[in-house]
């Protein structure tokens, strides 16, 4: 009985095109796993910071004090940036030469909107890459497989008797490309779905927070005016 050939040996003996398809897929898989872990840690950190900040914010602390606490730090993340941007604009306008209340509120809202957009962008970093890997790598793998099968059938042309043994190695080699494509695509797809759902939830919380902050500032402006 012939020795069972391991998958690694089959890969090592396959043709240049199948080999390069496999290399591309391996790179895509590696990169997408890096992104998955990075996003995972990042989003976990953002959610933790958000919980902490909201707790702090609603603990009854003076907003001016909170602002001066945060303003100096340079590793602000997520919701803190929105708060700092909105409050900075508000205090700058309200301390300046008597702008009217509408102008102050509009300025603060605009600053928060810009900060929100930036935050959304930073939350969604790499998600597009994961989506691309998830949707294209099965096709890349299929391409490798189809090519490999084509070649192994082409080698049959000159044979009078086609046996399974003469096509089996080529097909088995070619199918590895599809397996590899799926191996790259599945984690990327799961990661993409999971992370984009989490980003959605976070963005809703951001928007709710910025509306709440607008309300508080509005009240403060009118109380002052």
């Amino acid at each position: 009985m012939p020795e069972q050939i391991s998958i690694i040996e089959i890969v090592a003996n396959s043709g240049p095109l199948v080999l390069s398809v496999l290399a591309v897929l391996a790179l895509a898989s590696l990169a997408s796993w890096v992104m998955i872990f990075q996003r995972w840690f990042f989003l976990r950190r953002v959610v933790n910071e958000m919980d902490e900040f909201e707790e702090h914010f609603w603990s009854g602390i003076d907003l001016r004090q909170l602002y001066s606490e945060l303003d100096g730090q340079d590793d602000l993340i997520g919701i803190e940036k929105v708060f700092v941007a909105g409050f900075k604009e508000y205090s700058r306008l309200s301390e300046g030469s008597g702008a009217d209340t509408e102008a102050i509120m509009q300025g603060a809202q605009r600053a928060m909107r810009v900060a929100l957009t930036r935050e959304e962008e930073s939350l969604e970093t790499h998600l597009a890459f994961l989506a691309t890997v998830a949707s294209t790598s099965p096709y890349v793998g299929l391409f490798g497989t189809v090519w490999g099968i084509m070649n192994s059938f082409r080698s049959l042309i000159n044979m009078s008797q086609a046996t399974l043994a003469s096509v089996a190695p080529g097909i088995s080699e070619a199918l590895i490309a599809t397996a590899m494509g799926l191996f790259a695509a599945i984690p990327a797809l799961i990661g993409y779905n999971r992370f984009s759902a989490r980003v959605d939830v976070l963005m809703k919380r951001y928007h709710a927070f910025s509306d709440e902050l607008t309300g508080i500032l509005h009240r403060a402006v009118h109380a002052r005016g």
């Binding site: 009985m1 012939p2 069972q4 391991s6 998958i7 690694i8 391996a26 898989s29 590696l30 796993w33 890096v34 992104m35 998955i36 872990f37 990075q38 995972w40 840690f41 990042f42 930036r118 962008e121 930073s122 970093t125 008797q161 046996t163 399974l164 191996f183």
Partner: protein, 236 residues
């Protein structure tokens, strides 16, 4: 949006670990069991054991005392309770194959004989294995398949009431590589139409036989072969 490299070191290490684990799994774990590819071995050993039971072993009389073998013949006509079907392949050594076929036919005796001749058989088996070469192996594989055909035909045969002990019908069977029967022709009729038809019907009813996948073996032994029908169960 700035890509700070320090946030990527741990994820990169983890991703490498995931892939290393996957490669290890591919290298070690995921190859199919090798036992599957050996499945044919035990069958071959069985067939040899059948072959090795010598027909003239004494217990034969003890087992079937009610049937004194009246017909004087060189090869022992089987008196057991199954019809005998001899499968020959024309170009090869006919005698050898006929002999092995008949010993296979006496398979039912094997269980009774096995105990007495088991050690002897094992010894012979070892000797046989020692001198077996490729051609020998091939013949043995063919024989195991022939045994399967024999069993299937016997299972599908219903004995017509007019069948007699001395009747013989020779059929030519043609198969396609999938094992499907494409034609059955009566080469030498027995003279009894019902018996001939029953023999032919048995092969047709079997419809499909298990044949070797290797085309060389198939072409050599199973593309066309003859079946010899002899009813041996009239006492039943």
């Amino acid at each position: 949006m700035t890509l700070e490299l320090r946030y990527y070191i741990v994820p990169f290490v983890l991703a490498l670990a995931v892939h290393a684990a996957a490669i290890m799994a591919a290298y070690v774990g995921w190859s199919p069991d090798r036992e599957e590819s050996r499945l044919i071995r035990p069958q071959m050993v069985n067939a040899r054991l059948i072959v090795l039971v010598p027909p003239e072993v004494k217990p034969r009389q003890v087992v079937t005392p009610s049937v004194p073998d009246k017909i004087p013949e060189v090869k022992p006509e089987p008196e057991e309770t199954v019809p005998e079907v001899v499968i020959e392949e024309p170009p090869l050594d006919l005698d050898e194959i006929r002999r092995t076929r008949e010993r296979e036919a006496s398979e039912t005796l094997l269980e009774l004989l096995a105990e007495s001749s088991f050690l002897e058989a094992l010894q012979d088996e070892a000797d046989d294995l020692a001198r077996s070469d490729a051609a020998d192996d091939e013949a043995i594989i063919a024989q195991t398949y022939r045994f399967g055909i024999y069993k299937l035909v016997v299972a599908n045969w219903s004995r017509p009431p007019s069948a007699r002990n001395n009747m013989e019908a020779k059929l030519l069977v043609e198969l396609v590589p999938t094992g499907d029967v494409v034609s059955v022709t009566i080469l030498e009729p027995s003279g009894n139409g019902a018996f001939d038809r029953s023999a032919e019907a048995a092969v047709r009813k079997a419809r499909r036989f298990d044949v070797p996948v290797e085309s060389r073996l198939f072409e050599r032994y199973f593309r066309r072969f003859t079946l010899l029908f002899r009813p041996g169960d009239l006492l039943r």
